[in-house]
Subunit: 347 residues, 2 copies
DNA sequence: GCCTGGCACTCTGCGGGCACGCGTGCCAGA
DNA sequence: TCTGGCACGCGTGCCCGCAGAGTGCCAGGC
């Protein structure tokens, strides 16, 4: 797949990628030798370019234009990266400052997506920490009306899920309190995966007055946590960036990218597939969606105490500055990790 | 401002608006008489058109093109509307079905924005019910770590606000429970505007072990509810629609609209200003933002039990079908009202 | 006095034709 | 194996001319 390339040819490929990313125009042999003093003449470069084209790493849009990288070309470039150029230190500091001191998890993730999109000028994607390995802190029941109770599930990552329970028969306030105690005594600090069954067990052994309520809670816990675990919460920021920067010509393309970004389920799926690597880079047609054939995703995991963590990433055009973007994504991931640790407390 | 227009001229203006909205192309005198059998010749229509142009209600992009409405022209058209054409009944039914049975407030509002955007094919804006006249149901305190407590505020509209409290000194679990009881005894069912002061009063009269905690809760209640009341939560759906439909030509325009849509504060401000009327229509330059000069906002209030309600609306191009959009927005507002009443229970 | 038919005018969009620039591919020679 | 030179292909910008659409205006009719 990646044939060991002649050293000079690899250099030429990298030069093409970098020039094209900067300028957005097909790059020709003459400009290449001028800017990268390669020590050879344009003619030599041309024959190398022909070889690179043969290998499928570059193309030209029409005969008399310069070359542009193909997805495979970008891939080769990215795989050859050794060091991602780090952020400027004042940027890194500003980043930490911005994330630290968020009042709650949602706000933290929102800020993260905002800062990442401004840093990269692409659309930022932030997935909330997954629950599957986290623990249930507390289940609160609030008696709103005779037959309706609000269940609030609090997880140790700071995440809060709420769910209305509608009961067939009225329930008394003190029974709600009994149920609350029974449930919390049994389920608090359990891994969320076990919580539904434990609550169901409590229901089975409970007196008749409270059993329907506890059963309803068990169902809510099962559904609420399951949906929270499967369909992780996604924060998208800066999608307007995709319309700027001159990356796309036709409105149609932009529209389909925006539409895709609105489909949270789809975006999550894309991120999930990408994250077989970490950090992950998925370029153009490597993405599972044809609508995103002109886009790339760069993503990295972050970890959270007690959970399996989440993902931060960006969606940008294939013609992106990969080293810079990788650096930004990784920096944001690690800052988020720190801010998250601070937020959930030492515990 | 709106000079009493000759009846035929008004008819011609309306015809121009409707033709232009449908077709998107400047409309000429000939087509007009053919499609709207006006009973006069094109030449007559032309002289009327000249008068309408003189009055600032229409323009033409260049000499030999047909006419298009100006913002003032749309305004005249909208003000002259008597009946908004109602939704088809199966659409209305589907609407109600979709909104009923949402598990919680957030999900309901999310669905509302989704359905409204699909109904109109514009960007949907949904503002959560405001809290200022609602009541506090319950304050839950969860002891996460010795010096950190999570405060969860539950409001009778079903809205939940959460806030981390970091204390200077450790606090014991049973003191957290004491504080919780004291606070809820005093503050439950109070209007949210009074809650902060009441909680502060509880703090003043509390024993020293729990006073710092209750003071922290008071501060959190003050800040949490204030920010929730001022910066209402906004749900935006279907913004990708703004890139389709051929309304905008240049990518620049689309980008600035998207950027504006991402600024929740700005959008909220626009909606707030618009809602001096109900239902409200703000056309092009009537909006307070130059970036939205090519857009219109159609919005309507909905009310919530115990609160002052919220807003639903759409942002679309000035070239929109106002009667249809008005009907859709109003239908969604009233369905949302019903679904909300069902969600928060009879109470 | 208002409406109508006719006519001249203006502007856009489209297709053809031409020169230009750019970048390539190839080849002979070092 | 690299290099300089040369011919080729192709897209771009420009000008031109032409058809089409729509207007403005004016003289004439009801």
């Amino acid at each position: 797949m990646a044939p060991a390339l002649d050293e000079r040819r690899a250099a030429i490929l990298n030069a093409i990628v970098q020039d094209y990313v900067r300028g957005g125009e097909p790059v020709g042999s003459k400009r290449l030798v001028e800017e990268w003093n390669l020590g050879v003449s344009p003619a030599t470069v041309r024959s190398d370019m022909a070889a690179l084209e043969e290998a499928g790493l570059i193309t030209h849009p029409h005969t008399s234009a310069g070359r542009i990288p193909t997805d495979a070309g970008y891939r080769h470039f990215v795989d050859g990266l050794t060091a991602t150029e780090p952020l400027r230190s004042e940027q890194a500091a500003a980043l930490e400052n911005l994330l630290m001191g968020s009042p709650d998890l949602e706000e933290l993730l929102r800020r993260t997506s905002s800062v990442l999109s401004r840093l990269t000028r692409f659309a930022a994607l932030v997935v909330a920490p997954r629950l599957d390995r986290s623990r249930l802190r507390h289940i609160e029941l609030v008696h709103l009306a005779p037959t309706s109770v609000l269940a609030v599930l609090i997880v140790d990552t700071g995440r809060v899920e709420k769910r209305m329970l509608e009961l067939d028969a009225p329930v008394a306030e003190h029974d709600v309190q009994r149920a609350r105690h029974a449930i919390n005594d049994a389920a608090a600090n359990l891994p969320v995966a076990q919580a539904p069954d434990v609550v169901a067990g409590v229901a089975a052994g409970a007196p008749a007055e409270v059993r329907p309520l506890i059963e309803a809670v068990a169902a809510a816990v099962r559904k609420g946590l399951a949906s929270a675990m499967a369909g992780d919460q996604l924060f998208v920021g800066g999608s307007a960036n995709m319309a700027g920067g001159g990356y796309f010509e036709r409105l149609e393309q932009v529209k389909s990218v925006f539409e895709t970004l609105e489909e949270q389920v789809v975006v999550l799926q894309v991120l999930r597939e990408a994250l077989e690597d970490d950090p992950a880079v998925r370029i153009g047609t490597e993405l599972p969606l044809v609508e995103l054939a002109a886009c790339s995703v760069v993503a990295a995991r972050y970890s959270a105490t007690g959970g399996s963590g989440g993902t931060v990433g960006v969606l940008g055009p294939t013609r992106m500055d990969y080293p810079r973007t990788l650096a930004a994504v990784q920096a944001v991931a690690s800052s988020l990790e720190k801010a998250l640790a601070e937020l959930t407390g030492a515990s």
